[in-house]
Symmetry: C2
Subunit: 249 residues, 2 copies
């Protein structure tokens, strides 16, 4: 087991940071690490917004559902899928790129590109002893985030990333068993076997919630997922994607 | 600069592998590293299919546009967005989850979850001295990949990942300049400044293509992107997403 894999396996989200700010050098190493991630056919379809303005951070925290660690951290990044510069390239090169940019395929390309970059950023940050928390809550109001950060058409603010010196480190939540996530050659379909596996995992998660250091509760994974997925959320994501020039055909 | 960041900054895609197979232990460490990536609200909305069957690998290579390294590598993974198990949970918990699973929001969640996991897998693999290449080409025919791997509804094969002992290491392509990708507080919108930046980057890429070790050519980034984006591809991705129960409303 090398140091890199130790860093990966030791990950847990951090939701409480000291007030120490990231240095310019740390920010640059994190972003440059992000940029070295693979990118589909060299398209580089993402941008990263660092948010340092305290009013903007407070507003993002509010949008994300009043999560204090969105405002209080060492640095806050917003990762965006970005095909805006490709629209500009179409103009520079007198190439009609609009039809291509608006396909579902290019949504996948840009979202995957941004996510690969962000995970490299996370690994870089954690290797420096920093903690991170992904903030999907900015999708509670993508229109407001667009306005706040001045995003042009074809830019999608996918998630935030709070980074900083950990003030408190949480326990590590057990993941689904390896056999549940990894299949060989064929997806194991049998729903009864899947239910048996899920019940077993429920016992693991029940034990974790009952015994962890803080916020103990009586819960299981399938109960938690069942509750969460009974309530559709963020129903305006489709409108936002279309307004920004995605999924149009 | 620590060992983790060195691994990240040293990344380049590898398209030629020795015939050495990954060990069971390597596969397990790679998948377990993938599983430790952050996941949106603990949803764990992805699965990973390891493909070892040589007929299936040959077929995937064909689908991907006859890329030999899809068949010839140390191991081949297919990363899938996966909300199938959440459908089963709805059944177990007597919860009506269908409306939620079919929103655009949940497409983003599942795609981002799968991509974060895959990038951890990549970092783990590269830390062991292995090389990798993402294979977006499996999206040339997602219907065929579904059939080949026996994927149920709500599972999307997003991309492959060829992993193995590098037989040949390519040069590292220069990325967009830091200032081009990273903005502070507000997206820098001015298209003329963007064009100036892009022209400067074109010079960098022109120099890279003219001087690299193999496959030298006379090209720039905006020319390459302009050509690529003039031709819409994978127009059936939308049909596939809908057929698999995504983007339905």
């Amino acid at each position: 087991m090398n140091q890199v894999i130790e860093t990966l396996l030791n990950h847990r989200s951090v939701r409480s940071f000291t007030d120490e700010r990231l240095t310019e050098e740390q920010i640059r190493l994190i972003v440059e690490s992000a940029q070295r991630a693979s990118t589909s056919s060299f398209i580089q379809a993402y941008s990263i917004i660092g948010v340092t303005d305290s009013d903007k951070k407070a507003r993002l925290a509010e949008i994300a559902g009043n999560q204090s660690y969105v405002a209080d951290n060492g640095h806050f990044f917003v990762f965006c899928a970005d095909l805006y510069r490709h629209e500009v390239i179409g103009d520079m090169r007198d190439a009609d790129v609009t039809g291509t940019l608006e396909t579902d395929e290019k949504l996948l390309v840009a979202v995957i590109d941004a996510a690969l970059a962000s995970q490299n950023a996370v690994v870089a940050a954690e290797s420096m002893g920093l903690g991170i928390c992904y903030i999907g809550g900015i999708r509670n109001d993508m229109f407001a985030v667009k306005e706040l950060l001045g995003l042009p058409e074809r830019v999608l603010p996918l998630f935030g990333l709070a980074v900083g010196v950990p003030d408190h480190v949480e326990d590590q939540k057990p993941r689904l068993p390896f056999e549940h996530v990894y299949h060989e050659n064929t997806y194991e379909l049998d729903p009864n076997e899947l239910k048996r596996q899920l019940s077993h995992y429920d016992e693991t998660i029940h034990g974790y919630y009952a015994a962890r250091g803080a916020n103990r509760r009586d819960d299981t994974w399938t109960a938690q997922m069942g509750r969460m997925l009974s309530k559709p959320t963020r129903l305006d994501v489709k409108d936002f994607l279309k307004a920004q020039g995605y999924l149009k055909h």
